[in-house]
Symmetry: C2
Subunit: 322 residues, 2 copies
């Protein structure tokens, strides 16, 4: 059964017609939206979709934004000024706006036409998380349009997220600690992924390594790797390589195989190693990135502890004007 809020929003969306979807947010929240674009690309013959950082969206102001557009926004606190402003901008253009936020009374929560409240933090059932509610919305929308037949399977998978997280925590506990011990003194750590995993790799690079740990990093697309970035690889360069279960796995495997020949310091997170029992087979590929993202957070926590650099430490964010 779908989340009640999502159910209500889907009913409203069903009364409108859309041709374009814009996913709009900043930083980690933008990364959260990434798999939804992947899913729309894969499953919808009738909806095009694009992703923009909020201020780029406002200033670029795509000419096709209008009545037939659905704009999906996200901000944990709902106070990200550009994202709240993007909601206003989209509504003024006649678009339908759906916003995911923890706080319905926030600027984003009040300025979007259809706000959806998600819960964040280990004390909440991840069925109520941003990823879960976003998936319910997007797969629900596809289902409504007759473009996807496995909505029940997706929901069943999402309902088991807590179980998947608990298992993954145990399975990767030692790996996360080993990662932290090995890489705590490195100045540069790359992350690489393709397809549905690209968003979580982007998030780990920009929000964890750069923002929270002040470690130099770059998210490398596994397909682009061979057209420039792979020249940076040598036996000393640390590289986190994510492998998906989905259609672009061949790209990840090629990148890994090359890196194993010429690199020595690879951290491999392969969705095939996950215990996804409880997730219907047909939808394991779309659920896996949510679990990998959970594991990456454990890696981040261990790294922060080993470096004595708390994940909450900032020099600028929320502290100075910008």
């Amino acid at each position: 059964m779908l989340d009640q809020q999502v159910e209500v929003v889907l009913e409203k969306l069903g009364q409108r017609t859309f041709q374009r979807v814009f996913f709009v947010a900043c930083g980690g929240s933008l990364a959260v939206l990434y798999p939804a674009k992947y899913v729309l690309d894969r499953e919808s013959a009738t909806l095009s979709s694009e992703m923009y950082s909020s201020n780029e969206f406002i200033h670029r102001n795509p000419k096709s934004l209008g009545k037939d557009s659905l704009v999906v926004l996200c901000s944990l606190s709902g106070t990200t000024p550009e994202t709240a402003q993007a909601a206003v901008h989209a509504r003024e253009a006649g678009a339908t706006t759906v916003a995911f936020t923890e706080d319905l009374s926030s600027p984003l929560g009040t300025q979007a036409e259809f706000p959806i409240q998600f819960k964040w933090g280990a004390e909440n059932d991840p069925f109520t998380s941003n990823y879960s509610l976003l998936y319910q919305l997007i797969f629900g929308l596809l289902n409504q349009r007759g473009e996807y037949g496995k909505l029940d399977e997706v929901v069943a998978g999402l309902q088991n997220l807590q179980l998947l997280f608990d298992r993954a925590k145990e399975q990767y506990h030692q790996n996360a600690a080993d990662f932290a011990a090995e890489y705590k003194d490195d100045k540069v750590i790359y992350t690489m992924a393709s397809g549905i995993n690209y968003g979580i790799a982007y998030s780990f690079t920009t929000c964890i390594l750069m923002e929270m740990q002040w470690i130099h990093s770059h998210v490398i697309h596994a397909g682009e790797y061979f057209h420039g970035p792979f020249e940076i690889l040598d036996k000393d360069v640390p590289m986190i390589i994510l492998l998906s279960l989905d259609e672009t796995r061949a790209l990840d495997e090629r990148a890994l195989s090359f890196s194993q020949r010429y690199g020595k310091r690879l951290i491999v997170l392969d969705a095939q190693d996950l215990n996804l029992d409880g997730v219907p087979s047909a939808v394991k590929g779309v659920i896996a990135p949510i679990v990998l993202n959970f594991i990456l957070r454990r890696y981040a926590e261990e790294l922060a502890t080993a470096r004595n650099h708390p994940l909450s430490q900032r020099r600028y964010m929320w502290k100075v004007e910008y």
Copy 2:
């Protein structure tokens, strides 16, 4: 007057209807296509457009790819296997394919329905370059659809590219040498941009710094900067900041202003400093990135000389299997 090849292709395209454009290439060639997406976003209410690295495009296999799709591909040599394969993939799906390459007899040149030959290298008039012919195609397409009224101005600007390059070379000669002297020993150099400049920043990061100089780097979107990456900035971190003339300039200015407060090692390339006489005012914003890209290449050449690391040096590309 448009390039003769582009003229012929536009006539053919005019007999078909399109709703979606896919820009598909790898590495530096993908970066070349970036401004075209920006332009379509800004000017077309009827065409959606997306960019994919070639192998991601093939494996993701967007469901909307079909008869109403125009797929624009690019590869200098035309031998990039994924890009040639992407052309085949797109044609099999019923899409129209236009490919930019230096070699019409290459796999890409022979496998795309409409190949367009561009010239590369300082000995050729840049009116025949990849950027120029791409601009002629995209603005020509918009003009044909009644969505753009300044095609003649764009062509006039492109016809003056050689003059703009000659001037820029003189204007930035010393700056390029100073850049190389100052940063030749750095292990990490970031690049930052937004809007129409994002592609050239991506190209400088991945093809020049990572591929050709083995310097760690990351292309930072100026809007995303404040949602993670800016925490990496301190007085020692080198950062190249590009400023455009276009609609997203406000993002660049905000990023620069913050970086000037907390950073010390900024390399600023501002399109406002360019002498663009000869380019009609209304289209300076779209011509500027081609000139900035030329200047970045001069910076790259000076850096390579100062580091005694030729731009042609590779450890893997074209040398080992991958």
